[in-house]
């Protein structure tokens, strides 16, 4: 019986026709989603580059970008060029990279933990990363120049990931309760360390630390984009290669091993990738929560749980969400600017409540 493989030749038995899953409809849906997300991302990025205190028409944005790529187009006036290339575009690029990193890290983490509630922010990894960043600011460390904060955030993020991982898993899965409690403990501990950092810091440093906790892309510059680029690219390039193995991991650790997955190696590699992505994002943008939780959730509902789409799709979706959110943060309360992390949490958490209830009802529990 293979009504799903050959929909034209087989007669569907009653009941099976209403199936919402199946390989082929899903493949078509993922292709559509990928195209839709990409188009939306491009449009939002262009819009975000043009809209703001100094409006640049979309055509001019395109023209200037084409001009810089040497594909014709036309240069803007001096102010326009400066606004576009020194302020807007680095910010859009940073939002894109950070969003993609967070979305992708969220999808990977949910896959590795075998739990749809795992997210770098919820289980304390973003805060753990922030501790590294805050410590390096408060203690005035600069042993690696431009890279100091990124490296400190990365190391702290990695330690936190490993700690959370060791604390919250048993028998190959992380139970919801254990995971959330681990997150509470981790966030509390990291919060205390950040508080200690604030206590030790001088006024200028306190401002810088506050920025980390709120999450913002207001300080975006090209050097920052360049600082986060290698981490993000490496992580984003490596992540999709593990899609199939992550699918198998959904069966549990032992069954995954029975199907030929070297589970220990997979876990270690993916935990490193998650730390890389999260730490890179946190180091330049501060703590931005819920992107890594919401995006994979929504995509899983739309296209099924297969990680071969979910992981790269979440990177795409995360980038879209963050570029849009940053645009909103800049423009919603002009001339003031909302902190991005506050905005994502503000919009993300009620939405998440709804998702949680809906999904829970449909699949009859989490475990």
């Amino acid at each position: 019986m293979s009504l799903l493989k050959h929909p034209g030749t087989a007669t569907a038995p009653p009941g099976a026709a209403t199936a919402e899953g199946g390989a082929h409809p899903r493949r078509r849906r993922t292709a559509l989603l990928t195209a839709g997300l990409t188009a939306a991302l491009l449009c939002t990025a262009l819009l975000s580059a043009g809209v703001g205190a100094y409006d640049i028409p979309l055509g001019d944005v395109l023209g200037s970008v084409l001009h810089h790529l040497g594909l014709g187009g036309a240069e803007l006036d001096r102010v326009g060029e400066s606004v576009l290339w020194d302020v807007r575009l680095p910010r859009v690029a940073l939002a894109l990279l950070v969003g993609a990193s967070l979305g992708c890290a969220g999808a990977l983490m949910q896959g590795v933990f075998g739990n749809p509630l795992a997210e770098p922010g919820v289980i304390g990894i973003s805060m753990g990363s922030a501790v590294g960043a805050v410590a390096s600011i408060a203690l005035g460390m600069s042993f690696l120049g431009n890279w100091t904060i990124t490296v400190c955030a990365f190391v702290a993020g990695l330690v936190t990931v490993l700690l959370v991982y060791a604390l919250s898993r048993s028998g190959g899965r992380a139970e919801v309760v254990t995971l959330i409690l681990t997150g509470i403990a981790m966030n509390a501990f990291a919060g205390a360390l950040v508080g200690l950092g604030v206590f030790l810091a001088d006024n200028a440093q306190v401002t810088q630390i506050t920025f980390w906790q709120l999450g913002s892309l207001a300080q975006a510059t090209w050097p920052k984009v360049l600082a986060v680029l290698p981490c993000a690219l490496l992580g984003l390039a490596a992540a999709p290669l593990y899609g199939r193995k992550l699918d198998l991991l959904a069966l549990g650790e032992r069954p995954a091993r029975h199907l030929g997955v070297d589970v220990e190696r997979l876990r270690l590699t993916l935990v490193l990738v998650v730390a890389l992505l999260t730490a890179a994002a946190v180091a330049v943008s501060g703590v931005i929560t819920f992107v890594g939780l919401l995006v994979p959730h929504v995509l899983r509902m739309a296209a099924g749980p297969g990680h071969r789409f979910l992981v790269p799709g979440s990177a795409l979706g995360g980038a879209l969400v963050l570029v849009a959110a940053d645009l909103a943060a800049r423009t919603a309360a002009q001339p003031a600017e909302l902190p991005l992390g506050v905005l994502t949490a503000l919009l993300g958490s009620p939405f998440f409540f709804v998702l949680l209830r809906r999904t829970r009802r449909r699949q009859g529990g989490w475990a």
Binding site: M1, S2, L3, L4, K5, P13, G15, A16, A19, E20, G21, G22, A23, R26, G114, N115, P116, R173, A237, A238, L241, Y242, R244, D247, L248, L249, A250, L251, G252, R254, P255, R257, H258, L259, G260, V261, D262, V263, R265, T269, R300, G304, P305, G306, Q363, G364
Partner: protein, 282 residues
């Protein structure tokens, strides 16, 4: 099948080329435990276990709760390290195979079927084909998945989410996944536990079919009637040791079973088929 990507990690540390299994030879030993002793959490769970399963036979592991059936099955699957003695699969120590190579040789049905995310039934069954990705056999994927779903009678709800299934349906989907793997050694841990009468018979019939096709099948059972009817050989485990082993007719001795289960039993022959029936003395 698209060509398999190599991860950066794999590019740095290339896995040894996978050795594909040779077709099974009827009667050849598929897996064996030799003087096996296994300790779990400081307790000796198996000791002095010698047991072999050959291609073409169904071997049932029976015994009371906690007698070591599942541990023995896990050891044969290569999941547990031996404290002493060894486990050999397809002629080599289980530890000498890589995870990917073992997956081509043995399939394991766990006691409880779980899934972290709501994959559709057909997707779950297709996961059983993962070990063959990148080999020539991967061309058979669709056929293997279809045949496995038909054998386990899950084709009727191929598109439904695994999370929406009943316990018995889940168990059959897990069985279909294991069948789709098409390994020459099948290790099934209580495959009948969640099933109704009809599907219990179905699962054991599938075991017989696979054995007839040349596979070696080891199945943990609680129902001695099923073991007596379908198994070529039965191994009775008792406190981590094999108390008896052989054809059901010889092993199902009322005295032995009464002692092992701490429950007086009678063994009578079925009036029509002559199969041994084990009945608790009430």
């Amino acid at each position: 099948m698209s060509p398999r990507f190599r991860t950066p990690f794999e590019a740095l540390f290339p896995a040894r080329a996978r050795r594909l299994p040779a077709p099974p030879v009827l009667g050849a030993v598929a897996a064996e435990a030799r003087a096996l002793r296994v300790r779990l959490a400081g307790r000796t769970v198996l000791s002095e276990v010698d047991l072999a399963v050959a291609a073409g036979e169904v071997l049932a592991l029976v015994g009371p709760n906690g007698s070591g059936k599942s541990t023995l099955l896990a050891a044969l699957a290569g999941d547990l390290p031996a404290e002493s003695g060894e486990v050999r699969v397809d002629g080599r120590p289980a530890g000498a195979w890589t995870a990917a190579e073992l997956a081509l040789r043995r399939a394991v049905l766990p006691q409880s079927a779980e899934l972290s995310f709501p994959f559709a039934v057909e997707e779950v069954v297709r996961m059983g084909r993962a070990p063959w990705a990148g080999t020539a056999v991967a061309e058979d994927d669709d056929r293997a998945v279809r045949a496995a779903m038909a054998a386990a009678e899950v084709a009727g709800f191929a598109g439904r989410s695994f999370a929406a299934l009943s316990g018995g349906e889940r168990a059959r989907v897990a069985l279909a996944r294991v069948l789709a793997q098409r390994a020459a050694l099948l290790l099934l841990d209580e495959p009948t536990a969640a099933l109704d009468l009809r599907h219990q018979e179905l699962v054991l019939r599938v075991c017989r079919e696979r054995a007839a096709a040349g596979d070696a099948v080891v199945v943990v059972l609680h129902d001695l009637g099923l073991a007596g009817a379908y198994a070529d050989r039965v191994a009775v485990l008792h406190e981590g040791r094999i108390a008896a082993e052989g054809p059901p007719g010889r092993v199902f001795d009322p005295e032995l079973l009464s002692r092992v289960y701490s429950q007086p039993v009678e063994v009578i022959d079925h009036p029509r088929t002559g199969e041994p029936l084990v009945i608790p003395r009430r």
